[in-house]
Symmetry: C2
Subunit: 217 residues, 2 copies
């Protein structure tokens, strides 16, 4: 029981800081998306293709969350956007206070879009509000089409699902349609995109939607 | 600090129960492997191909751990092996006491090999000893070859790595050699297998190794 009580306190404290973050984002008119997924679903590749496609038409920044290494921040920084790496040193998810600290390293004035790439983990990050406008769950076609049923909290708490690596569909036994159906069973309001970071398919539609999220545009 | 102290107590308690489990397994001469990975790396498919290949030449049982659903236990049970499903209801990893409870539903006498398929999560299960002889980390080629660097604890605590979905290597940008090198940088003692559950490549070598793990054979 002790552990459950402590966990509730941790979540309450997190929610309070997340509310502060959200207010900060709203004051600056920044659209903030929290990217969540299994390890290796292609969150960073999606960011790379997104930054390439947006091609500096929006002022974008990225906060990278990883258990270890700053490999992802390095990849993203190549696109000349401000990138801050949070290393959790074993921690399985980002929390709102880590994001709040990371914000001190970003110039918020004039920023329009902020991506927070969470630790690759389809379980723990689902409980933690970071102050984002929405969670975007990225699922690759190679993970199988049953993931929404097996990890329902993440799909319930996300507003958007990106089905990534659709170029690999001919070579795997899973179906993007079944994946979508399973996800909509868990969360009928989920908005769904299909992308391939290798071929570029679907990136334009995803970026059109991103542009529409920026306040005042 | 409170949370860290509680976590240490949870881990100590877990280790004590894991030691009991280990003693139980040793008394019955059962080789026990704890399969860990990202969601969708193919742990259950690997079990299916393994059970098919072993073709009842060993007495095998499976404990399935999932956040939700008994889909995996159903898949495994088709191969006429005893299968027990643990549903963690949101919990991000298996703990030794859950395995201990699951054991009450298995006939241990005569059992030779027990697979415990953990929750799909490359972070949290690394800290939890279940009483297994070894952790087997399964990584699919589609997850990218940087995973050992980004999630080092899991690769440090595993004794075996199975690189799965090698049939997809021609279609992805990651290299099995680089993945192996990165993993061996984290854990030079790691034993590595390469498998494809679609083509069956590597399954025989993996099963030969499994047979050699059974005590007294």
């Amino acid at each position: 029981m002790n552990v459950v009580t402590i966990e509730r306190k941790v979540l309450e404290k997190n929610d309070a800081v997340a509310a502060q973050n959200r207010q900060t984002f709203q004051e600056h008119g920044i659209a903030v998306l929290n990217l969540v997924s299994s390890p290796g679903s292609g969150k960073t590749s999606l960011l790379e293709r997104t930054l390439e496609h947006l091609n500096s038409t929006l002022r974008v920044a990225v906060i990278e969350g990883d258990v270890q290494t700053d490999l992802d921040a390095q990849r993203v920084a190549r696109f000349s956007v401000p990138a801050v790496q949070i290393v959790t040193r074993g921690g399985c998810h980002l929390e709102a206070n880590l994001v709040r600290e990371a914000l001190q390293n970003l110039e918020l004035a004039g920023l329009q879009l902020l991506f927070i790439e969470n630790v690759g983990n389809l379980v723990c990050p689902s409980n933690y509000d970071l102050g984002e406008a929405a969670k975007v769950v990225v699922v690759s076609t190679t993970e199988g089409d049953d993931k929404p049923l097996k990890y329902p909290a993440m799909f319930r708490n996300a507003a958007i699902m990106v089905i990534n690596k659709i170029d690999l569909l001919p070579y795997v036994d899973s179906s993007a349609d079944t994946l979508s159906e399973n996800a909509l069973r868990i969360n009928p309001a989920l908005r769904i995109f299909r992308t391939s970071c290798r071929t570029g398919e679907g990136i334009a539609q995803w970026c059109d939607w991103l542009r529409a999220q920026v306040p005042g545009r």
